[in-house]
């Protein structure tokens, strides 16, 4: 198993800062989307639609750095940046960061940090969705929603995590593989 060296630590932090800036930049988009959906009582959908972008730092760091803990650390540091920039979730951003990062990490744990392909990405998206959704059942009071609406939220969240944390991450990964900058990578 690879260990953390200063280069990897700097790399994961730079990636996290970049993602943190993106998390923060899409804040207004989230606000507008929530406001537009709010009159229909659908504002949680805005959260579900964009969640994939917020959790992207995890799978991206996991795919690029390939050391146990990379996904969790990447997502946590992204959350730290977002909090210091003044994100909308305040102190709970840090907890969400760990929860989201660990959700992605589980996908890599289940594949033993050995395979970096589509099944791993789908698995990562699934574990991220389940772990973060459980957290929201408590934090955002999702448990009080009627079941059909809850299922809709879950489905939208999975789709979003799959598109951003899965498809987009894979496309980025493909570009990096073609540029030969990833260690022992396969298509």
């Amino acid at each position: 198993m690879k260990r953390w060296h200063i280069r990897d630590i700097i790399l994961v932090t730079i990636l996290a800062i970049f993602m943190g800036v993106i998390f923060w930049v899409i804040g207004p988009l989230y606000t507008v989307l929530s406001a537009a959906l709010a009159p229909f009582g659908l504002s949680p959908l805005a959260n579900e639609l964009l969640l994939g972008i917020w959790v992207m730092a995890g799978p991206l760091a996991g795919f690029i750095i390939r050391i146990p803990g990379a996904a969790t650390l990447g997502e946590l540091l992204g959350a730290v940046v977002e909090m210091f920039l003044g994100g909308i979730w305040g102190a709970s951003t840090l907890i969400s960061g760990v929860v989201q990062g660990f959700g992605s990490e589980l996908g890599f744990i289940f594949t033993g940090y050995k395979r970096y392909n589509w099944p791993t990405l789908v698995l990562t998206a699934l574990t991220t969705t389940i772990v973060t959704f459980t957290w929201d059942l408590f934090r955002s009071g999702y448990a009080a929603y009627h079941l059909p609406f809850l299922l809709l939220l879950f489905a939208v969240r999975f789709a979003s995590v799959f598109v951003f944390g899965g498809v987009l991450t894979k496309l980025i990964n493909n570009l990096l593989v073609r540029a030969h900058v990833l260690p022992n990578a396969t298509h």
């Binding site: 659908l42 991206l60 009080a144 980025i172």
Partner: protein, 217 residues
């Protein structure tokens, strides 16, 4: 208060508040955070921002919960105040803590390995460069008639290449300046961790437990 202990305290309270359903405790936490921010001269503009943001999101969340769910008024009140607790406590922390002091404290007091502390610092000081790099990449693409959005893989690809380049160079620079991973270090500036910090930490934690578990509504 010592930055590491303050961070631990705030994260722990935020975690407890996420599961507890005591709105009076939430209000108490909001008032205390607000008072501490006022004592620490947090600007009025910042306070306004910290108030309007949760006001909007709490309102939409409560509205959807009452429309699409079966939440009691008590639960809605809990959810409404909870978001304020998060944002005010986060604001209190970020407005009263320097990232540099926090990193030093994490290394000295919380025994974070120095390779992490200095790795984080090296990267965090690149923040302006990272922002400029994103702007440069977008502008360069625009010159070729290509618009890069936050969903474009090319944007991430180019940023990651820059990040890899920088992390190689920074790591080499640190090594050539005599940084050795895992070697014992002395500190030019020490972050004190004194008995008073522990009393503040323990006292605040105790007060929060009393507020959460003594049967308040």
């Amino acid at each position: 208060m010592n930055p590491s202990l303050k961070l631990g305290l705030i994260v722990f309270i935020a975690l407890e508040v996420s599961f507890a359903q005591v709105w009076t405790a939430n209000v108490a936490l909001i008032v205390v955070s607000l008072m501490l921010m006022l004592i620490n001269h947090v600007s009025f503009k910042r306070l306004l921002y910290l108030t309007l943001v949760p006001l909007f999101f709490s309102s939409t969340l409560v509205w959807s919960l009452s429309l699409r769910g079966s939440a009691s008024p008590h639960f809605l009140l809990v959810i409404f105040t909870r978001l304020f607790v998060y944002v005010y406590m986060g604001g209190l922390f970020t407005q009263t803590t320097e990232p540099l002091t926090l990193t030093r404290s994490l290394e000295q007091n919380a025994k974070l390995p120095s390779k992490f502390a200095y790795g984080f610092l090296a990267a965090f000081n690149l923040m302006p460069k990272i922002k400029t790099e994103v702007a440069t990449i977008k502008a360069a693409a625009m010159m070729r008639g290509q618009v890069l959005h936050f969903w474009s893989p090319q944007l991430y690809f180019k940023v990651i290449l820059a990040a890899m380049n920088w992390s190689d160079q920074l790591a080499a620079a640190m090594t050539s300046h005599g940084f050795i991973e895992g070697a014992p270090r002395t500190h030019a500036q020490t972050v004190p961790l004194v008995a008073r910090d522990w009393w503040l930490f323990g006292g605040s934690l105790l007060l929060v437990q009393v507020a959460l578990f003594c049967g308040l509504p």
